[in-house]
């Protein structure tokens, strides 16, 4: 097979290991995601809060800058668990917006063009396909979640006049664990919902709806039945409580309303399981019609 001879030539070269095929999917997924100007715009916007937080750390650790801004040192904010809680909150909601845009691009194109039979006829399993897309989405979301969070932690450790990083290492662990849980959850949610609709716009709406509609239903349940357990349907509240505990920040609810950690973890695990089941049902080379 040659461009000029127009004849077929069998391939006798080297072949990559089977496990690397997942990375091919991830690489093409990332290329697809970042080829969009909207993705670039969203990512650029997501840098703004990061820059603001960076500036705040600079101010908090620079006496000269503090003197210029405020006469009293008491007015200046403290860099600690509460500060990083705010970092997590802002970055993680930006991640939700990015998920709603990116996830449908990864899956819906394949479904709309019915490319699954051709993709899965190659040496890649259904799990490999989903895992490759998951890596692409997780990596994209990481650029706005745990990576900037850790960068801020490192910068605070660097600029702090006292040895800060060692004493507050639990914050770094909290940032990584909290954002990784959220990023993984968002990745699965985005892929699962995108796999059920062929239209990207609908998939985007569905991702937002999946976060906020159950939260509203949970609020109604809590109000009508006078129970805190309705909050288990409220993903934003659950994640906020989890982040607070991981970072050691003050909790937003008192003891009566706060959810037990095991209940939050169990609920998140159930949600992930549901997303995996949805993906398993949809990501198939061939659909079997019953009857």
């Amino acid at each position: 097979m040659s461009v000029y001879k127009h004849s077929y030539r069998a391939y006798g070269g080297k072949v990559t290991p089977l496990w690397t095929r997942v990375l091919v999917l991830a690489r093409y997924g990332l290329a697809e995601v970042w080829s969009s100007k909207i993705t670039i715009s969203l990512f650029t916007l997501s840098v703004i809060p990061f820059v603001v937080f960076l500036f705040m750390i600079y101010i908090a650790n620079n006496p000269l800058a503090q003197a210029l801004i405020s006469k009293s040192r008491a007015d200046v904010f403290e860099i600690g668990p509460f500060f990083f809680m705010k970092v997590l909150e802002s970055q993680c909601w930006i991640a939700l917006v990015l998920t709603a845009w990116i996830a449908p691009r990864l899956i819906s194109f394949d479904l709309a063009d019915n490319s699954l039979p051709i993709l899965l006829s190659h040496p890649i399993s259904r799990f490999g396909y989903v895992f490759g897309k998951f890596i692409a989405l997780f990596a994209s979301l990481s650029t706005v979640t745990w990576i900037p969070g850790l960068l801020l932690f490192v910068y605070q450790g660097y600029t702090s006049p006292t040895p800060w990083a060692g004493r507050n290492f639990s914050i770094a662990v909290g940032i990584v664990v909290g954002t990784v849980i959220w990023t993984a959850l968002l990745s699965l949610l985005g892929l699962a919902l995108s796999s059920w609709v062929k239209w990207r716009v609908v998939a985007t709406g569905l991702i937002f709806a999946a976060v906020f509609v159950p939260a509203g239903v949970g609020g109604l349940i809590s109000a009508i039945m006078r129970t805190k357990w309705g909050l288990l349907l409220n993903l934003p509240v659950m994640m906020t409580e989890l982040w607070q505990r991981l970072l050691g920040a003050p909790e937003m609810f008192d003891g009566n309303l706060s959810l037990p950690t095991f209940a939050i973890v169990a609920m998140l695990a159930t949600a992930c399981l549901l997303f995996v089941v949805m993906l398993n049902a949809r990501i198939r080379a061939r659909e079997v019609v019953r009857g």
Binding site: M1, S2, V3, H6, S7, Y8, R9, A10, Y11, G12, G13, K14, V15, T16, L18, R21, V24, L25, Y28, E32, F109, D110, A112, D113, N114, S115, L116, P117, I118, L119, L120, S121, H122, P123, I124, S125, R284, A285, R286, V288, V289, R290, G291
Partner: protein, 324 residues
């Protein structure tokens, strides 16, 4: 060991038995897969690709179990699906490169092979256009290009000429013939069109109601019936046919002076005219014909076991190669 070995292969999908105890060994360079709609052609292909798990029995490709070793099998297979299946917002060359990389080619080699295979199938000039902008014929060709790019040992083509205009069909058939002649790739071609199979294949597997209706070497069948003659005569036909039998021909007489005969190699058509002249018989029409794939197909459709027969009965009645 054949290219594809089927051993009591049964596949049940959605509560229905789609493939029912298929047994056979496919050895041809180009194997045609024929059958009416719902016969199980696509299910057989999907099972060979590891998409469906056999409910009973086994299917082997190059000696590898189609379900257990599906990753290795897919490594050696190029698959061109029947329906549209591509990534529309990718350029042709990027799509083929992507598929080649998924098959294990390193990125640089995959890019090189993508260009080559696109030129090979005739899409060289449009390889930088997005696939969604291709015509139906081009989409068929790009599916073929991606199936070829990684240099498979077995190429599975599911309805390759589906929806093509006559010129595009001829081009597709030409490419398939070239691939067959090159010799390094075995072909499994599923089609509704007997003509496509007739032109490209040397072995045919005919399915009916999920069972093997016939498994036949087309070339052998043609060779064995190469002196098949149909005659229309007037006069003393009975005596004429008796004389022909004396020559060693197999002869069957029908109403209206029609005769059908299979002549041995040592008998020439001229001998028939000599006997006819001696008997005072007029030969008004003589039709020398080969046993076409259409005959094989129609006979298989009529002769095959009925759909209501039990699987065990069929399995006993079904030989590996059906004599036609």
């Amino acid at each position: 060991m054949g290219v594809i070995d089927l051993d009591g292969l049964t596949v049940r999908l959605g509560g229905r038995t789609v493939l029912d105890g298929l047994t056979g060994e496919l050895q041809g360079q180009a194997i045609g897969l024929l059958g009416p709609n719902g016969a199980g052609k696509s299910t057989l292909i999907n099972t060979l690709l590891g998409f469906h798990e056999p409910s009973q029995g086994t299917a082997r490709v190059f000696g590898l179990d189609a379900h257990r070793d599906r990753a290795e099998i897919r490594q050696r297979i190029g698959y061109m699906p029947e329906n549209d299946s591509f990534i529309g917002n990718m350029s042709g060359v990027r799509f083929v490169r992507y598929m080649a990389e998924l098959s294990g080619l390193p990125p640089a080699e995959a890019l090189e092979r993508a260009h080559e295979s696109l030129f090979y199938v005739g899409l060289g000039e449009v390889r930088y256009r997005k696939v969604e902008s291709y015509s139906l014929g081009m989409k068929q060709l790009i599916k073929l290009a991606q199936a070829l790019a990684h240099g498979p040992r077995l190429l599975i083509l599911d309805e390759p000429t589906n929806g093509l205009d006559p010129m595009a069909r001829l081009r597709m058939i030409k490419v398939i013939k070239e691939i067959r002649q090159e010799g390094s790739i075995r072909l499994l071609i599923s089609s509704h069109l007997l003509r496509d199979i007739d032109e490209t294949c040397d072995e045919v597997l005919i399915l009916k109601n999920g069972r093997i209706a016939a498994l036949s070497n087309i070339e052998q069948e043609r060779r064995s019936n190469r002196n098949f003659l149909e005659l229309e005569t007037a006069g003393a036909t009975g005596e004429f046919s008796a004389r022909i039998r004396d020559l060693g021909c197999e002869c069957a007489s029908f109403d209206g002076g029609r005769l059908k005969l299979v002549m041995p190699d040592n008998i020439a058509v001229r001998d028939l005219y000599v006997i006819a002249a001696e008997q005072g018989v007029q030969i008004r029409r003589m039709n020398l014909r080969r046993d076409s794939l259409e005959d094989i197909f129609l006979r298989a459709m009529v002769d095959s076991p009925s759909a209501t027969a039990t699987p065990n009965q069929n399995q006993e009645a079904r030989p590996t190669h059906v004599s036609l």
